[in-house]
Structures are given as C-alpha cells and as structure tokens.
Amino acid sequence: MKNTASPPRLARWLLNRFSGWGDDFGAAGDFEEFYRDLAAERGIRKARRACWKQVGAVFPGHLKNVILWSDAMLKHYLRVAGRNLWKHKGYSFINIAGLAMGMACAFLVLLWVQDELSYDRFHADAGTLYRLEQESDSGQGLFRHAASPYALGPIMKAEIPEILDAVRLASPGSLLARAGEKAFFESRVYAADPQIFRQFTFPLLKGDPATALALPGTLVVTEETARKYFGEADPMGKTVIFNDAHPFTITGILKTIPPNSSLSFDMLVPFDFVKTLGKYTDSLTGSDITTFVRLYAQSGAATAAPKITRLVMDRALSEVQANHEAAKFLQSNPAVLRRFQSRTFLLRPIVDIHLYGSRQAIRNVAIYSAFSLSILLIACINFMNLATARSAVRSREIGLRKVVGAQRKSLIGQFYGESLLTAFLAGAASLVFVIFLLPPFNGLTGKMMGPEVLLKARSLLGILAVILFSGIVAGSYPALFLSAFRPVKILQGRLGGARSSVFRKTMVVLQFGLSILFLIGFGVVLRQVDYMRAKNLGYDKERMIYLPMRDKAPLSYAAFKERLLKSPCIAGVTATRHPPTAITANSASADWDGKNPDARFTISFASVDFDFPETMKIEMIAGRTFSRTAASDIRRAFLVNEDVPKLMGLDPVSALGRRFVFRGYEGTIVGVMKNFHYRSVRYATEPLAVVVDPKEFRYAVIRLAAGGIPASLEEVQKTWRQVYPQYPFEFRFFDQDFDLMYRQEERLGAFIKALSVLAVFIACLGLFGLASYMAERRTKEIGVRKILGASPSSIVLLLSKEFARWVAAANLFAWPAAYFLMDKWLRQFAYRQEIAGWLFVAAGAGALAIALATVSFQAIRAAHAAPTRALKYE
C-alpha cells in the first residue's frame, strides 16, 4: 500500500540528494508539512504533483552546480587524456581509426534506419490517418490485403462516428495520355476523392487544393509529369486526353512526392472517372480500390474497425439475398463463401504501411542495425583490448596516482575521459568518412540522402548517442578494472594479469568470430544469388523481350505478329495475359473427371497465344503443343506442366485427352510441358495450366533472332510504329526483370561484403596493436632466447602461435552461429544452394591467414632485433 500520509519517498530522496541542504534547515520536515497541508487542502494527487514540481524546480540548479564543480576536474581529465593519446600515437591511431570506421558504418545505417522510419510521417495528420485493409480466410490461412469496395468510403464516413473523412483511390489501370505531340502510357494514375489534399499533406504548387479535383474533367499532375509533357511551359489549364477519348484540364500542380511516401502517383483525376470507365459498382462485396481513413482520434481505431466490418457484412448480405444468382453462386462455392463470411476490416496506421505492410521493412531495419552494431562492437573491442593490454604499463601511473591520493572515482573519470575523447575524435573522423561514403551508400540502398541529413536534430542526437555509447562501452572495462588495482601490489610489481588476458582473448575471439560470421554470410548470399541467376528456368530467356499491349492494342495483335514474323530478325512471337516473367494468376476452381470433389488444388493459370511453348522454348514431355489448324484448340485445349498430372494422380501420357475444367474454360489436356519457372525463382514452381484465348492477350512476347540485338529491336520498333502509330513503343528484356528480382539479395550481398571487409580490417588493426604490444612486453624474453640459441623462425612461431589459437577458437562459435543464421535466411527460397562446408573452412582459414600476416609482421621484427639491445634496456 502506498503511504499517502507523507510525500513520495523517491521525491523526498531526490530532493535531499540534490539540494545538499542536509537537514540544517529542517527541510525534510518542512517538505513533509508542505505536503500534508496541500494534501488536506487540495487532495493527495495534487499534493503529490506539487511535490514533484518542487523536485523539478531544484534540479536545474543542482545540475549547474555539478557541472560548475566538475568543470575543473573535467578539464584535468581531458588534459591527461590528451597527453596519453599523444604519447602513444600508434595505439591512438589504431583506436581512433578503428572506432571511426565502426562509427561511420553505424552512422550510415543510422541515417538509413531514420529514413526508413520516416515513411509517411510528413503528413500533418499522420497520427490519425489509416489505410483500410481486409483480411479473409482463403482456405490456406488468413490473407490480408489493402483493398476495399468502391462505394465504401462515403458510406463509412456517414455511418461511423469515429471517422472524420475517407479518401478513395482507385487505379483506372494504364492509360494512354496524350498532350499535343507527346503521348505516354501512364500507369501511376489514381482516381481520387477531392478532399485528398485536405487529408494528406501533398501540397499543390499551383492551383487551389479545395477545388482542384472537385469538378469532372479536372486533372492534377506532379511537377515532373508536367515537365515530361509540357517542358518549361506553364501546364495550368492545358489539356491531356486519356485513351484518345477523355479530355482533362490541368487544374493543379503537385509538389514532387517525397521518396519516403508509401503512397505515390504521377496524376490524379476525379474519382468519378472510374464510373465513366464503367468500372464502378455500388456493391460492397468486391474489393477493388484503396481507401484511406482519417479518424477524429487515434483511440477510435480499435472501435471503428469492427464497426466497418459489421457495416459491410450487413449490407453485403442483404445485397446477396436480394440477388438470387449471387446467392446461388455463393452456396455452390464453399471457398468463396468462406472468404465472403470471414471478411474482416482492419485499419493500418499510415506510418506502419512501409514498416509492417507487405514490404516488411522492419525486418531489414533490424538486420542492418544488428550488422552495424556488430561492427561498432568490434571497433570498441579494439579500444578495450589495447587499453587492458597497456594496463601493466599504465598500472604504475595508476598506483602512483592512488598513493598520492586519487580516489577510485577520479580514476574512473580519467579513463572515461580518455575513451570519450577518443570516441569524439573518432566521431569527427567518421563524419568525414560518412560524407564521402554517402553516394556509394545511396547506390547500395537506393535512397537519395545528401550530407544535409546529418544536420537533422534526430541525426545529431543519434550521432551523439553513438559516440557516447561507444565511448562508454570502450572505456568501461579499463575504467572499472584498472581503477580497482591495489596500489601496493602494483608498485611491488605483483599484478595478476591472468584475468585480463583471459578477457582479452575472449574479446579477440569475439571479434574474429564476428568477422568469420560475416565472411560466411557473404559467401552464402553470393552463392545463392549466383545460383538463382544461373538456375535453369526451363525455358530460354536469352533474347526475349515483351511489349505491353494497352488500351485497344490487342485488337491489332494478329497483324502485328504477322508483320513481325516476316522479318528474319524475329525468331518467334507469342502473347500472354500476364508479364511472362511473373504469371501470378491462380485459382482453386479446377475440375477434371475423377477428381475428388472435396479436394481443392491451387493451380496457376495463363492465357497464351498458340506459339507459346515454341517461342519460349519450353520442352514438352508428352502430347503436342497448340495447333493452329485444330479449330478446337482455341479456348478448348489445355497445356499443363508436369505438376498437374501429379495432382491428378496420373502419369503425363495418361493425362492426355482428359477433360479439364478451369476458370470457365472447358476442354481437354493436349500436352504436358516440362516444369518451367514462370515467376521468380524465389518461389517453387506450382501446377500450371495454359489455354489459348485471343481475347486475353495483353503482352506480346518476342524472341529476337541471333544476330545484332539493336538491329532486331529497331525492326520491332519499326513494325510497332506501322501497326500502332497512335501508341508509344515500350518493351522490356526478360533479363531486366530477372535483375530486379534479385536486387534485394544483391544489395544484401554487397552490404555484407562491405561489412566483412570492414570487420576483418578493424579486427586486424586491433590484433596488430596487440601483437606489437606483446612483442614489446616480451622483448627481454626474446633476447634471452636468442642468446640461448633460438632461431628467428622459432621465435616468430612462438609469438604467432597464441594468436593463431585465438583465431582458430573463433571458428568454434562462428560456425554454428553462421550455420543457424544462414540456414534461416535460405529458408525463404524455394530453391537454395545448400550451405557448403568449404565455405566455413575458407572463411576460417582466410581469417587465420590475414591474422597471421598481421601478427607475423610484428613477430618477425621482434625476432630479428639484436638481442643485446633487448637486454640492455632497464
């Protein structure tokens, strides 16, 4: 039970401590009385608050006192620290250089992390903005996506009291935009509610945010988009025609959308444009657009989401009941019914979209932070090790200081002063590194950060924190350990060094362990990326390009194909519904004779043109490919991959001729293709069925003939211009897509590569310092050994042996850790390059070789020194 009769004990204690009045004035009693009076007068809570206020009032004065008094001591510590640094320039250089590199790494990652965490926070109302998402049970676990029905926005706003406003963003798909001579396909166009400029902080450079999207036919474009169409001319009031049918007038120019916005677009049109395009529906059963909600208060999110779910559910149910056909469809499709019934709406704070949404950026934030902290740790260890190694030398100084009367407290202060000074020097040096390293770092991470990001208050705080952290971590061991020496023992020369040397060894083992870990990680990532790149896709992706056919372009596909095939530069032409490198459509609706009616299989699906297997060079296992001469092949014949017969429980040959019903197509299986990768190699191939449906062509897929690629491309472009004079020519190489697919892994690889180089280098820097120190300490021993007839090589061996043992020991913990971590990482890939044993051996041996090279430099020098000089000293 809290003692309410007297002031908070902590407050009393603090007051007593800060004030330094002692009890000469009866202050404690006064305080007590003060509290009781207040408690009786205004209640206990007020009294307690008043007590804390008193503490707060005393604190600044106390702080001033402390600082004023310690100012003198602080100056002294810094002076001593400065002298020490100067006296041992070599050690200081190793310390500062190592720490600076570690810090530069930490700062870069800090900037990156800050950038990641800053996503969407630039909106003035970021705290109350939410994206509406829904979760449904697809039969294979919960599936969450950020889609909502067209009509929901205004309904929610009217019905749910927590909601202040809702903005709907619908994508009308890719539109052909024409302004005067210029025409481009624009896929980043949104149809949006006019209050978008009120809800989000997307400022307009020109135009009135209140009316810019209010009327039909208005259009808002970003600065760059305006420049793309109109150059330097004033775009306001200019006309852009979409799909050669819908004229729009520019009524606003958007300021460039910041790169840390998860919501990004080039053009905005009024929401009703989707109605013009005939895409809009009043039904609440669908989920087609994105809706952003602004609440009155953050606290409303928890209560608003269930209300949205109930609202949609009620309306959608009555909608289905009113529509006999829809009800029947639902009843006959248990999976659809389950998805329908399990639909739950959730509100995701806008600031969480980037970090916790589908991009899961928080995972990278954690990984990269851990990496950079390890590097910083390695650098701090250098400092600790060198300081403890020198403790024997320093111990005289400490002993004398103690004898003269230094308190342990002031010694601790001195050591911390030294490490903090080193850390600040290193911090200053690292900022220079950072400024030079930012451009390559941006290239690695795909960010656009200039040196000015360092000057943000948050960055400065972070930098200060890193400096203080490393200063304190690096200084703690020497400060706490060395200051505890007993002066008598020190001056007698009896110093138990065993403990500190065990500590030192452990630290070196840790350093090299981390370095080896990075090396192995680098190897594994590199091998995996190479493996995925080199993986046999099951088709030939060389010289393959694809062209999106937008708007009405598919109607003339046949003519386009015919003309192309006349050219010797073109080896094959086909068409698909999806980009051929990423076929993502699938369905569980497949049916065939003899199928267990309860079983459900997800099968990927693609609509293709006749020559699909031939153009892609996909091998057939059984049956034939599509035949143009068999009229029944259009929409009535299936090609499947080898996984489909397996699902059916048949071998490929006996699957031929079977009836197959899928996605509204009904026909027979005419051929079985060998499995090929129709999407990123990250994922396993799954059962796939393709059918010819000319109505569904959206991409022309072309294989260029051997010979000059530029000439072939020229030919394709020329043909395109003839067939489609009204459409701009766009194409992609398959290779471009594959490059993009592995970009994240390649970035990780490049990052780990840089880190492992840095880790090894910093660790060696420390080892070099340690070795030179050891050689120095054992000068006498080496001299005696040499006089007694030891050869230089035996002495090199003697000195190197111990270090070699430490580095070898580092493998003991690095290997299992690396195996565990990399195994976990590899699990995200369907096809992985198993972790090779030689990688571990190579990393360990490499680290050992580098360490030995570092150490032997010192060892050889010591071994070749003239023994007389070694014995003469003292």
Binding site: L15, S19, W21, G26, A27, G29, D30, F34, R36, A57
Partner: protein, 109 residues
C-alpha cells in the same frame, strides 16, 4: 556596513513579521505574499543559509511533532545584527527614494 540584497531583505522582514513562528513553510508563504508569486520550497533555503552564516538570524530547533512526520522544526529569529541591518536598509531606502513621487516611474500614457 554590508547592505542586504532585496531577497535577503524580504526574508528578514518576513521572519520579523512571523515572530515565533518563522520556519521554512511559513517564510515561504510570507515571501509569496510580499512578492506576489509562488516560490519553490527549495528556493528559500540558500538565502536562509546565507543569512545564518552572516549572523543576521539564529536558529532554534523545536520539538519534533507528529504532523511533520516525526521531524523537528527549525525556527528562525532575528539577531541584533539582523535588526540593525534592516534598520540600515530602511534608512538607505528612505534616503534613496527621497523626493521621488510614486507616479514618477509610471509609463507615460
């Protein structure tokens, strides 16, 4: 003779006014009345300490009472030096302010 600072003067007068009941809490209240603002409890003590060292006040330790959580109370009383100092300050004030009307420093409207 050394002149008192204004704050010292205010506190000394407060102690004189409070007679036998001058200690931390009451002095703070009195000072608050005179200056029209709330003083932190801790703000009073440094002045009391200075006055004590200067010999302007003396302290008397009273009996511990229940209402103070069993702690004793330290009462302050003016010493003769304190009285003299106040008298001196008053004289200085009078001479300094002599012939200056109350409205002299009012802002011209």
């Amino acid at each position: 003779m050394k002149l008192l600072t204004l704050m010292e003067e205010i506190i000394l007068i407060s102690i004189w006014r409070l007679k036998d009941n001058a200690y931390g809490i009451t002095i703070r209240k009195e000072v608050g009345k005179a200056t029209g603002k709330e003083w932190a409890l801790g703000a009073i003590y440094p002045f009391l300490s200075r006055l004590n060292k200067g010999g302007y006040v003396m302290t008397v330790t009273s009996q511990a009472t229940q209402e103070r959580g069993g702690r004793h109370k330290i009462l302050y009383r003016l010493t003769d030096t304190g009285r003299d100092a106040l008298a001196e300050v008053r004289r200085v004030h009078e001479r300094t302010w002599d012939g200056i009307a109350a409205w002299a420093f009012k802002k011209a409207e």
